[in-house]
Symmetry: C2
Subunit: 193 residues, 2 copies
């Protein structure tokens, strides 16, 4: 602890742990009880008091934003991790699977995200900025390995998957998943042309 750092390290570590616990709890609660779920359901799950919630996230929008950002971060971080563990084409497919799960979770937050609250204004940019390069690294590696076609722009692909995951009236998410799988097959078919 230096003179320039008046908050003891231990206290900062605790605060960081509380924030993470709250965001994780909120993600789970939003998924089951919706974005308007009672604060107590979230704090009980996180094992913190309601005062701690409101100190870190004064408004519900702040918590929603943190959930979305941490979801984007997790999927972005999964890119290098998958590349280290799998062949390029399989890493790409597994990442796309993770990405579609993120889109599905985001869909559950749509009422908040489309409310026009300026808290959310930066999220589309953050989404693009973190996930675009992640997907580009994966498609570049798979194309270099000759496993997928090499003329697909990662930004286009990110858009295309997002479009294919838009809800279809009267159909469940498995219909979206199937079409994403067909698109991924198309990437593979074009390999080496």
């Amino acid at each position: 602890v230096t003179q320039l750092d008046p908050v003891p390290r231990r206290q900062r570590v605790d605060a960081q742990r509380n924030v993470e616990a709250l965001v994780e709890a909120a993600r789970a609660v939003f998924a089951t009880s919706g974005v308007e779920a009672p604060a107590k359901e979230i704090t009980d799950r996180a094992g913190v008091g309601v005062g701690t919630l409101y100190r870190h996230f004064p408004r519900r929008a702040d918590l929603v934003k943190a959930v979305v950002r941490s979801g984007i971060d997790a999927v972005a971080d999964a890119g290098p991790a998958l590349s280290a563990s799998y062949e390029p084409a399989e890493a790409l497919e597994r990442w796309i699977q993770r990405f579609t799960e993120l889109l599905r979770a985001k869909r559950g937050l749509a009422s908040a995200l489309h409310s026009g609250d300026p808290t959310f204004a930066g999220l589309p940019g953050y989404f693009q900025q973190r996930l675009g390069p992640t997907l580009a690294a994966l498609t570049d590696a798979a194309a270099a390995a000759g496993a997928i076609r090499d003329d697909v722009d990662a930004e286009d692909l990110l858009h295309a998957i997002t479009q294919l995951c838009q809800p279809i009236p009267g159909h469940g998410a498995e219909h979206n998943q199937r079409m994403v799988a067909v698109l991924v097959d198309g990437l593979r078919r074009g390999a080496g042309r």
Copy 2:
């Protein structure tokens, strides 16, 4: 001319020809000058008087609706015609190409179609009802020939292509086309699995 048919046949044929000329002219004019183009531009192109336009299509919405319906009809009719001329997989690909052109033309009419005018209320149903079975016939034939995967629902595919053709901010339609091509490749890759 029977007693039950007070309008002479010649007159009905002329009226039908005028309607067709007006719809074709309107399609071309909407594509270049937009859906609010002056009536005279349309009637000049159709070679009829403005009175004839307003007799058949009292409001602009009636003309827009006729243009959309005739576009849907043309693409639906192209299905059997393409099947008769090409191998099943090529007939399917060519039809999907026609279908994406229809979507692009419809996009130019979006301001009218999304105006909430009840004139357009039946169009989504008509679109689905005419194009769903057309695409199903094409995918069934291609799957039966072993040229594409056999587990794709035509209605899902129609939705997926429509989703992939949604405009991407800052990108031209060729980006959409490329992703549709990848999807079609994916249909082919799954053949015989």
